[in-house]
């Protein structure tokens, strides 16, 4: 009898743990107002900038950087144009390896959209085949993780995989799905809304939905959303960490995002969030112009505006972060006269350059 009771209790605990319909708490709320005509000097928040030209030793040319990730001093670059992964040593700038993995084989991918890493492995998301391909740090194929939904973005956090889910399915009615490294679901976060915010046939998209702070907290956000969620541990509940109010530039709640050209609208459109040195950095568009808001995570004090550029300044458009550094990219020809490139010899002006901004 005692055994039956124990089995019943175990089953109940197991079922209870799989239910992720939990309450959300907005912890902080920031209102940004009167920023339309404001601007900021790059030096006021970037203490140092470095450049890394991505020159391969063979004929491989990087066409468009879709995503990047790191293992130690190695940066891995996902090239959208050739669907290849390139690895570089970020200290020496030396090209290490290129993987051309696109194809129809079981160890190949059709269209890679995101890469992420833990300390030993690279994970590549292929939404076309609904699979995650796992490689070692030398870009040798290891195994495939099959998923049953279409992911649009991927991050590895505490040896679990979190995907941004593009499609609402009966068993996957959540925007973020957490998997273990075997592909088994361990959590589902933020249910899809039953409305026009998720148009099935036409969607606006953004590439990034995750950022990890220096203290290894995971922050994530839905496309164009003004709420930044936080997860401190895979076993902990997630919380709505920060909500940014753009005042009268905020997209109205009853306005279908997919019904207008959001990138040319007069609404503030958040595209990326970063969390560096206790500062939340919101990258957003207004009237087609790029604005940034630097928000102190403790006090909520913020500074918002466009960036002022002078002739010798490098462009500032971070798309990724790594530890306390924001990372962007541009073509060599766009900054070839800048002093930060003086130690490099680059032949081809079309060479991509990674830009590291220390905040």
């Amino acid at each position: 009898m005692m055994r039956i009771v124990l089995i019943f209790i175990s089953c109940w605990v197991f079922i209870s743990c799989s239910n992720s319909n939990r309450s959300q708490i907005i912890t902080k709320h920031v209102t940004l107002t009167d920023f339309r005509n404001d601007s900021m000097e790059l030096e006021s928040f970037v203490s140092n900038a470095r450049a890394l030209p991505l020159q391969s030793e063979n004929d491989d040319v990087i066409g468009n950087i879709k995503d990047i990730c790191f293992i130690g001093d190695t940066v891995y670059i996902l090239d959208d144009n050739t669907s290849s992964i390139h690895s570089f040593d970020i200290i020496s700038g030396k090209h290490i390896k290129t993987l051309h993995g696109q194809g129809g084989g079981n160890q190949e991918y059709i269209q890679a959209v995101s890469i992420t890493s833990n300390k030993d492995n690279i994970f590549l998301l292929d939404p076309m085949t609904q699979r995650i391909l796992c490689y070692d740090k030398n870009l040798n194929y290891i195994r495939t993780i099959k998923i049953d939904f279409t992911g649009g973005d991927l991050v590895c956090y505490n040896n679990n995989l979190i995907l941004h889910n593009l499609t609402k399915l009966p068993n996957y009615n959540y925007k973020f799905i957490c998997l273990d490294l075997n592909g088994d679901i361990i959590d589902k976060i933020i249910p899809f809304k039953e409305d026009k915010y998720n148009s099935n046939q036409f969607n606006w998209g953004t590439n990034n939905h995750f950022t990890i702070s220096e203290n290894r907290f995971l922050y994530f956000y839905d496309s164009f959303a003004n709420v930044l969620y936080c997860k401190t541990n895979m076993n902990d509940e997630f919380c709505s960490y920060f909500e940014v109010d753009f005042g009268h530039y905020t997209i109205p709640k009853d306005k279908p995002v997919n019904s207008f050209n959001i990138f040319e609208s007069s609404y503030a459109i958040p595209t990326d969030y970063f969390f560096v040195k206790n500062t939340i950095i919101v990258s957003f568009l207004l009237d087609g112009k790029r604005y940034y808001s630097f928000i102190d995570a403790e006090t909520g004090k913020s500074k918002t505006g466009t960036i002022n550029y002078s002739d010798e300044k490098i462009p500032f458009f971070p798309q990724w972060s790594h530890e306390s550094t924001l990372i962007g990219c541009c073509l060599y020809k766009e900054i070839q006269d800048n002093p930060i490139l003086k130690e490099y010899l680059v032949d081809d002006g079309e060479t991509y350059v990674l830009l590291f901004y220390d905040i």
């Binding site: 959209v113 593009l166 099935n200 606006w204």
Partner: protein
Amino acid sequence: MKAKILGGIFALAVMVAAGYGVNKSMSNDADLSEMALSNVEALAQIGEGESDSGNNYCVMHFPCFDTNGNTTGRYSASSYQGPGCNKSWHSHSCTDCSYTLSL
């Protein structure tokens, strides 16, 4: 007798779990031909067309930015399988796009 019954239940549970694991492992290495490979390969190319596999496809558009992060008026598009969508797919790199111009 009771111990034998419990032992049998335990053995059955182990077999079911092992069978599930093998099945899952095999499905992970499933041949891509099961996924209408020719169709998804076409989707990865630039262009547009109609699905001939019976699958429905959604389209997602991404803005293309200049070096300073400002919009350029051009968009890239990619298609992916999804419920409630239609048979036509639409993929391209950064360009003017009739889908977005109609908005």
